[in-house]
C-alpha cells in the first residue's frame, strides 16, 4: 500500500513541477528538464507499481533490479553490443548507405532510370524487408556477416530514394548559374547539388540509423552464434530471465538514441557549414 501511495505522490509531484516549468518562458534548461523529470517520474511510478501490486519479476522486473543486473552482467552486455551493434549494424549501415549513395549519384545521370527507379524504390521501401532476414542468414552463415547483409538490404532503399530526391533539389536558376561559370558535371555535383541534397541525405541517414539496429537484432532471431543482443533476448525470454532482457533493451535503447543523436549532430554541423560556405564563395 505504501508503495502505491508513493507512486501516486511521485506522479502528482512530477506533473506539478512540469506544469510549473512549462508555464514559464521556454529556455534551454526547461526544454531539457521537463522531459527528464517526465522520464524519472515514469521510472518511479513503474518501481512503485511493481512493488506495490507485487507483480512477479518474471513478468515485469522493477527498474532497480534491472540496474543491478545491468551492473552485474556488464561483460556479457558489452560482448553482445560489440557483436550486434559494432560488427553487424554499423558495418551494414556504412556499406548500405555508401552503396545507396553511390548508386543514387550514378542513376542521377540517366533521367530514364530515375523515373523508373523512384516508384519502384518507394514501393520497396514500404515493404516488410525484414522478411529477407532468414534468406540472408541462409546465404551468409550465422555470424555477423549475415546481420550486416540484412542491414544493407534494409537501409538501401530509403537511403537511395532520399538521395535521388535530394539531388533534384538544386533549382534551375542555380544550375544555370553553374553553367555560366562553365562548371563541369563534377564541379556542379560537388559544389551545388550535393550540398543542396544534404538535408535529404541526412533524412535518409536518420531513418536508416533506426532501421540498422532493428535489422541486426531481428536477424539474430533466425540463427546466430552464442552471442549478440537478439540471441540473448530470445534465449533469456525462454529462461524467463527478464531482468537480463530488460538490460539488453536498455543497451539497445541507449545505442539507438546515441546513434540517432550522432547523425542528428552531424546534420546540424553540415547544414550550418553549408550556407556559410556559400557566403564565402
Amino acid at each position: 500500500m505504501g508503495w502505491l501511495i508513493f507512486g501516486l505522490l511521485a506522479w502528482a509531484f512530477g506533473w506539478w513541477i512540469n506544469h510549473r516549468l512549462s508555464d514559464r518562458p521556454a529556455t534551454r534548461a526547461t526544454r531539457l528538464a521537463v522531459p527528464t523529470i517526465f522520464g524519472i517520474t515514469i521510472i518511479l511510478i513503474w518501481e512503485a507499481l511493481v512493488r506495490g501490486l507485487e507483480i512477479s519479476p518474471v513478468l515485469l522486473p522493477p527498474p532497480t533490479q534491472i540496474a543491478v543486473t545491468f551492473a552485474a552482467k556488464s561483460d556479457i552486455l558489452w560482448q553482445d553490443f560489440v557483436q550486434t551493434v559494432i560488427k553487424g549494424a554499423l558495418t551494414g549501415y556504412v556499406l548500405g548507405c555508401g552503396t545507396a549513395f553511390l548508386t543514387a549519384v550514378a542513376i542521377d545521370r540517366f533521367p530514364f532510370l530515375k523515373r523508373g527507379l523512384l516508384p519502384v524504390g518507394n514501393f520497396v521501401a514500404a515493404l516488410p524487408i525484414i522478411g529477407m532476414a532468414p534468406i540472408l542468414v541462409m546465404w551468409f552463415g550465422f555470424d555477423w556477416q549475415s546481420k550486416a547483409a540484412v542491414v544493407v538490404v534494409m537501409v538501401f532503399f530509403p537511403m537511395l530514394v532520399n538521395t535521388v530526391q535530394g539531388l533534384q533539389e538544386a533549382g534551375a536558376m542555380q544550375r544555370d548559374l553553374m553553367r555560366t561559370y562553365a562548371a563541369g558535371y563534377g564541379q556542379t555535383l560537388l559544389k551545388l547539388r550535393l550540398p543542396a541534397a544534404m538535408p535529404f541525405i541526412f533524412n535518409g541517414l536518420k531513418i536508416a540509423s533506426t532501421l540498422a539496429l532493428i535489422g541486426a537484432i531481428v536477424a539474430e532471431f533466425f540463427g546466430s552464434p552464442i552471442k549478440g543482443m537478439g540471441f540473448r533476448i530470445s534465449t533469456s525470454v525462454g529462461q524467463l530471465a527478464l531482468d537480463l532482457v530488460w538490460a539488453e533493451i536498455v543497451v539497445a535503447a541507449v545505442a539507438g538514441s546515441a546513434f540517432y543523436g550522432a547523425v542528428a549532430l552531424l546534420e546540424k554541423r553540415v547544414t550550418f557549414w553549408h550556407p556559410s560556405q556559400q557566403g564565402r564563395s
Binding site: W15, N18, R115, L117, P134, M138, G230
Partner: protein, 290 residues
C-alpha cells in the same frame, strides 16, 4: 502513365538479375551433383538445372510464382481456399493482427497528438519521449512482449497487435501534431472573431486541415504495422501467419516457401497502403482539397 515504360524497364532488369543470380548461386550444387554422377554438364543443362531445384539457394521467379499459385489459386479452385496450407489463411492471420494494431495505433496516436497540441505540459514532456521511443528497436523486444502477455493470460491476436500498434502510433503522432498545428494564425483569429468554442475550432478548423497530414502518416503507419505483425508471429512458435511461414521455411530450408511468403507479405502491404491511398483520394476530393 508517363513512368510506365521506365518502371517496366526496371522491373524487367530486376527479373533478369534475379534469374542470373539464381544461376550463379545454385550452380555449385548442380556441378557437385554432376561430378558425383560422373558426367559433364552442357551450359543449357546447367542453367536448366539451377532453375528447377527443390531447395535452391535462390529460387527462380517462376518457381516462386508456381508455389504461390499452388498455395493460393489452385487451392481455391480445389475448394480448400482457407485450409491451413493456403497462403490466404496465413495472410488473413497476419492481416487481422495488422489491422487491429493499426487501428489501436492510430487511435493512440491521434489522442496523443490532440493532448500535445492542446496541453503545453504534455507537449514539453511527452514529445521528446515519443521521438526517443522510436530509437528503441521495439521489434527486438517483440518476443518478450508476446511471452509476457501470454503469461498474463492475454494471447491470440492482441500481443501481436500491440507490436503493430507501437510501430504505427509514432508516424501518426508526428503527422497529426503537424497537421493540427497547420491552420494559420489568420484562420485561428477568424474562428475567434466568430466566437467559436475550442471544440468548434477543433472540429471545424483544426481536424479538417490536418487530413492530408493524417493520410500520409497512415500510409507509413500501415507499412510499419505489417512489419510488426510479421515479426510478432516469429516467437509464437511458427503456428500461423506469414511470419510463421518465414520461420518454418528457414527451419526446414524450404527457400521457395520463404520467398512465396515474402512476396505474399509484400503484396499484403502494398494492397493495404494502396487502400489508404484510395480512401485518401476520395476523402480529400470530397473535402475539396485534392
Amino acid at each position: 502513365m508517363r513512368n510506365l515504360l521506365p518502371v517496366l524497364t526496371i522491373v524487367t532488369a530486376i527479373l533478369v538479375i534475379w534469374y542470373a543470380a539464381a544461376v550463379a548461386l545454385n550452380a555449385q550444387w548442380v556441378r557437385d551433383q554432376a561430378t558425383r554422377a560422373g558426367h559433364e554438364l552442357s551450359l543449357p543443362a546447367l542453367v536448366e538445372a539451377t532453375w528447377s531445384q527443390d531447395k535452391p539457394k535462390l529460387p527462380a521467379p517462376h518457381q516462386v510464382a508456381v508455389e504461390i499459385w499452388q498455395t493460393t489459386g489452385a487451392m481455391v479452385l480445389a475448394g480448400r481456399g482457407f485450409s491451413k496450407r493456403s497462403l490466404f489463411y496465413h495472410s488473413w492471420i497476419t492481416f487481422s493482427s495488422t489491422a487491429l494494431g493499426f487501428l489501436l495505433g492510430t487511435a493512440l496516436g491521434v489522442a496523443l497528438a490532440i493532448g500535445i497540441v492542446y496541453n503545453r505540459t504534455m507537449d514539453m514532456s511527452v514529445m521528446p519521449w515519443v521521438i526517443a521511443s522510436q530509437t528503441i528497436p521495439i521489434l527486438a523486444i517483440a518476443p518478450m512482449i508476446i511471452v509476457v502477455l501470454n503469461a498474463v493470460g492475454i494471447s491470440g491476436l492482441l500481443p501481436k497487435a500491440m507490436i503493430s500498434m507501437y510501430l504505427s502510433f509514432f508516424p501518426v503522432v508526428v503527422g497529426m501534431v503537424k497537421g493540427l498545428r497547420s491552420p494559420a494564425t489568420m484562420q485561428l483569429d477568424q474562428m475567434r472573431t466568430w466566437n467559436a468554442s475550442p471544440a468548434q475550432t477543433f472540429w471545424k478548423l483544426r481536424l479538417p486541415s490536418s487530413m492530408p497530414y493524417l493520410f500520409t502518416s497512415l500510409k507509413i503507419g500501415m507499412a510499419a504495422s505489417v512489419v510488426g505483425a510479421i515479426v510478432g508471429e516469429l516467437p509464437t512458435g511458427a503456428v500461423a501467419g506469414l511470419g510463421a511461414r518465414l520461420l518454418a521455411g528457414s527451419y526446414y530450408g524450404q527457400t521457395i516457401q520463404i520467398w512465396s511468403a515474402l512476396i505474399m507479405a509484400a503484396t499484403l502491404a502494398a494492397v493495404l497502403v494502396g487502400l489508404i491511398g484510395l480512401v485518401q483520394r476520395m476523402t480529400l476530393r470530397r473535402m475539396g482539397m485534392a
